[in-house]
């Protein structure tokens, strides 16, 4: 895989990010409703006050080119501005507080879901029609159709409220002092357990079903018939021939899914009060907090574009036919 290939893909990625960011900027500010009227709703609000605040928040100038240019120049210089909703807090602080919680929850959940989901799906697809397939597909379908909060609330009620094994919500025990780092990690782990279980279970279903159909397709390929004719065991054929080939479309799907997963985890974040980017986005949208929305979408678009770039590279690693 040449340096030129990487450079080309990198340049494409940058261009995509730039386009997304500019488009989102314009779209958000075209929405009906404006932040000062949402955030400052009180009986003493006057026209004069509204106008003054609009000026303070840079909303009185025309959208294009003034606001767009101001936004582009400040973002390129790394200044994401101040939140309109959380007044007095820079956007980087607000997003920064949510970044690691989201990465950890989504990252671990994806990892578990990929491993378990692909394994279950591969087994079910290979032994299609068998008992394992029926059970596996059945459970996967049920999980796939359950929204996160339908998985999450029962988990809270059973394991947190009734048994008391885990805390009901949050990321850490607020105000707790920890004798050492290990205690802090343990507390974090206890808080992470239920939301992690919820998001993983929600994702496993989907990956398993997709993997299953991918394997079924691969089963009917010529090279599998050849391998069988050569006398290789079923398990070896699955592991060494079918699975890696079936994996190829899954890599693309997982990468594309990443953006949806971050957004879809909102319901899990709400239920578990997990401080993630999903709820931040929804709240900022209701409040028309433009700086936060722009910052979050910048982050999300970079993440998704990078994930797809990584998927391209992984694809190239997995499949020698693709390498440039």
């Amino acid at each position: 895989m040449g340096g030129r290939y990487l450079a080309r893909r990198g340049a494409q990625a940058l261009l995509t990010i730039f386009a997304i960011v500019v488009l989102n900027f314009v779209l958000f500010r075209m929405m009906p409703g404006s932040p000062e009227r949402v955030l400052l709703r009180n009986p003493y609000l006057t026209q004069a006050k509204i106008e003054q605040v609009r000026k303070q928040w840079g909303l009185d100038k025309p959208l294009i080119p003034d606001q767009l240019v101001a936004y582009t120049t400040s973002t390129l210089s790394g200044d994401l501005g101040y939140s309109l909703k959380f007044r007095g807090t820079p956007v980087t602080d607000v997003i920064g507080q949510r970044f690691w919680p989201t990465i950890l929850l989504i990252g671990f959940a994806e990892a578990i879901a990929i491993v378990v989901g692909l394994a279950v799906g591969a087994y079910a697809g290979w032994h299609r029609g068998g008992v394992g397939d029926r059970i596996g597909s059945g459970i996967s379908l049920v999980l796939y159709s359950m929204p996160y909060f339908v998985i999450g609330m029962p988990l809270i009620i059973i394991f947190a409220s009734s048994f008391g094994w885990f805390p009901t919500s949050g990321m850490l025990t607020v105000g707790a002092t920890y004798p050492g780092l290990v205690d802090r990690l343990i507390d974090f782990g206890r808080h992470l357990a239920l939301p992690l279980a919820t998001v993983s279970l929600g994702l496993i279903g989907g990956y398993s079903i997709l993997m299953r159909s991918s394997i079924i397709e691969t089963r009917s390929e010529d090279y599998v018939t050849t391998a069988r004719a050569k006398g290789l065991t079923d398990r070896r054929i699955l592991r060494s021939h079918a699975f890696p080939n079936a994996l190829l479309p899954m890599v693309t799907i997982i990468a594309i899914n990443l953006g949806y997963v971050v957004a879809g985890a909102i319901t899990a974040e709400v239920v578990f009060n997990w401080p993630g980017l999903g709820t931040l986005t929804v709240d900022a949208l209701s409040a028309r907090d433009y700086p936060i929305l722009e910052g979050v979408f910048l982050l999300l678009s970079i993440t998704v574009v990078l994930a797809n770039l990584a998927a391209d590279l992984v694809y190239g690693l997995l499949d020698p036919r693709v390498r440039a």
Binding site: N42, I50, G88, S169, P179, F272, S286
Partner: protein, 636 residues
């Protein structure tokens, strides 16, 4: 390539085992030296720690903990010493001398004196002098000083503040301005304080000092050791922000919270049967309304492609008749679950000093409503539709925001009742920002069309009814008016009551004002929603309501109740080691024998966690060993 994949899988599994190991329950040793933490839950998302920038009840709670008002509010909202410990009014009534308590210090050790009080009030005076745009921050606090008509403050020495006022009432004692430290904020003026980029340093003279704010998650307050008043039992107060009441209530039941602000009616009823949990339904200082679009009344102004869909809405007789078709008691019973009061005038009954029942109170009587509509000239046609005076069927659009889950239920009832009168109602839920823009008239900007008929929304007020009455003034059109109502008589009365010579005089004027609005009915005030709260009684005791009769412990007008809490556990010495387990590692029940249940539950979790780890490691080993075995026998 295949073995790389297998190794990768094995590595991931190994990582999973590590994670599982981290899930071992915390057997965190607890000691009696752990701080006592009071955990308060709310679903309001704190917007700022700057007292001038916040507009949420949780924001006022936060600044009332960190800062003092000059004069505080006592158990029944009478005045209590705050930053000032006594005050006198001059004989002519136009100046007040406040004696500032001696020996106070800020939480950073600097002395707190009258200079800080004068600085704080001077900011508001400058803002008021600057006119509407100059008001401090969000513009909600300085009007309280404006209402008190304070024109000048001076501090001749470190313990004296003299305020000159044009107002003959004692409203100056209700001024809701925090006293902020001049040595920290002294560089600011009244315009810079409100900017979104202004980050105030957190130094105050109140009982608990804000020390950490994670947006959307929590605010932590620590005891201010140099607080001049009674120190509270809690060392730390954490206000934890939830996205949904369901999670908050689960946390309260599990003992992770001590206080839950705003569970809904069903949750409150369910909590009443929980052990160690008490519930409160406090009278709310605010209401939910139907606001009718009366744009054009008296001015004959119309809006192209906008405005009310029928001129009937501009007719007080029409609106009055509609008021007879709404069963307010049923709404309280069925929508609020019984927690609330029937809506009448725009001054909530909890303000006992100012609220009056309307002289011409309407009743729920559909037949009477129909008769009144007929008498007012709105007849039914052959198909049962109610026609306006132009002969068009009346079809009203009822819009509401998505901010309150009770609104759609209330709207359904209203649509049904109006339907019985022959009036068609379509309801729509919109997001708050969009709705806020739809109801604006051209006075707010050329693009606005006030394209609605009825707006279902609500307001909440503060200790003085001025805020809730200001919504009905002519100059509120384009800003806080939901109904585009304009009545010069009302405006004149409003100005008169601001300078009323005595409380009795003011009450008389307010009685007139309340009746005018009730009779004219630009709003149909549906109900005063109650403030629902629940709290645990097994860790903290000494819970009091403010006001005592129908208030709530927290989220009122003062934070003194935080300092009035005591230890609920009777014998501190015996339980000192067991009880604090509630703070550092919250368990399901913080009872004296909390050690036992925690141990048995942690044993089970330990076993399960070990099983999981073993299983994951076993799978990982199997995969790894297979890789080794097959490495030699490669396929062709």
């Amino acid at each position: 390539m295949r073995s790389t994949l297998r190794v990768r899988v094995a590595r991931v599994l190994g990582g999973g085992a590590l994670i599982a190991a981290l899930l071992l329950p915390a057997a965190t040793p607890t000691t009696a030296a752990d701080p006592v933490i009071l955990r308060v839950g709310t679903t309001q998302d704190l917007d700022s720690l700057n007292p001038y920038a916040t507009l949420l009840v949780v924001g006022y709670e936060a600044f009332q903990l960190s800062y003092n008002l000059l004069v505080d509010f006592g158990p029944d909202r009478w005045s209590l010493p705050g930053f000032a410990d006594r005050w006198e009014r001059a004989a002519d009534g136009h100046s007040w001398t406040f004696h500032i308590r001696e020996g106070m210090t800020w939480s950073d050790g600097e002395p707190a004196t009258a200079e800080d009080a004068c600085f704080s009030w001077q900011l508001a005076i400058d803002a008021i002098a600057d006119g509407g745009a100059g008001s401090l921050g969000a513009g909600y606090l300085d009007p309280t000083l404006d209402d008190a008509a304070v024109t000048k403050v001076e501090c001749p020495d470190a313990t004296t503040m003299i305020a000159t006022t044009d107002d003959a009432s004692d409203r100056i004692l209700q001024t809701y301005l925090p006293i902020i430290p001049k040595h920290i904020w002294g560089e600011e003026d009244h315009t810079s304080i409100g900017e979104a980029t202004f980050e105030p340093t957190l130094v105050g003279s109140g009982p608990y000092q804000a020390v950490e704010w994670q947006t959307g998650q929590f605010v932590r307050f620590q005891r201010n050791p140099s607080y001049w008043g009674t120190q509270g039992y809690a060392d730390e107060i954490d206000i934890i922000i939830y996205k949904t009441e369901d999670t908050m209530v689960q946390a309260l039941k599990a003992g992770e919270l001590d206080y839950a602000h705003g569970p809904n009616a069903e949750q409150l009823n369910a909590l009443q049967s929980e052990p160690n949990i008490a519930t409160v339904a406090g009278s709310a200082n605010g209401w939910t309304q139907l606001a009718f679009n009366t744009y054009g009344t008296g001015t004959d102004k119309t809006i192209a492609d906008g405005g009310p869909s029928t001129p009937a809405l501009l007719d007080p007789a029409f609106r009055d008749a509609l008021g007879y078709a709404v069963d307010h008691a049923t709404l309280v019973e069925r929508v609020l679950g019984g927690y609330g009061d029937v809506g009448t005038t725009m001054v909530p009954p909890v303000l006992t000093q100012w609220h009056v029942e309307p002289t011409n109170q309407r009743t729920f009587d559909i037949e009477l409503a129909k008769q009144k509509l007929d008498a007012a000239g709105y007849a039914l046609n052959g198909s049962g539709e109610r026609l306006d005076k132009a002969g068009n069927p009346i079809k009203l659009r009822l819009l509401m925001p998505d901010s309150d889950s009770n609104y759609p239920n209330a709207a359904q009832f209203v649509a049904d009742w109006y339907g019985q009168l022959g009036i068609g109602v379509t309801t729509q839920v919109l997001d708050s920002a969009t709705l806020g823009e739809i109801v604006l008239p051209p006075e707010a900007g050329d693009t606005y069309k006030a394209d609605y008929d009825i707006e279902l929304w609500g307001w909440s007020g503060n200790v003085d009814p001025n805020g809730l009455m200001a919504i009905f003034k002519c100059d509120a059109i384009g800003s806080s008016s939901d109904s585009q109502y304009c009545n010069q008589t009302f405006d004149d009365l409003y100005d008169q009551q601001l300078v009323a010579a005595s409380n009795e005089d003011r009450k008389a004027i307010l009685t007139q004002m309340q009746n005018i609005i009730y009779d004219d009915a630009p709003y149909d005030i549906l109900y005063y929603d109650a403030n629902l709260e629940a709290y645990r009684t097994d860790r903290f005791a000494g819970w009091q309501n403010q006001p005592t009769a129908n208030g709530t412990p927290f989220f009122t007008y003062s934070t003194l109740n935080y300092t009035r809490l005591t230890n609920a556990v009777a014998a501190p010495s015996a339980e000192a080691t067991a009880a604090p387990s509630g703070e550092a590692a919250p368990t399901a029940a913080a009872t004296p024998d909390a050690g036992e249940p925690a141990a048995s539950s942690s044993n089970t979790t330990l076993i399960i966690a070990i099983v999981v780890i073993v299983a994951v490691l076993a799978v990982g080993l199997v995969l790894y060993s297979r890789r080794r075995r097959t490495a030699g026998a490669d396929e062709e």
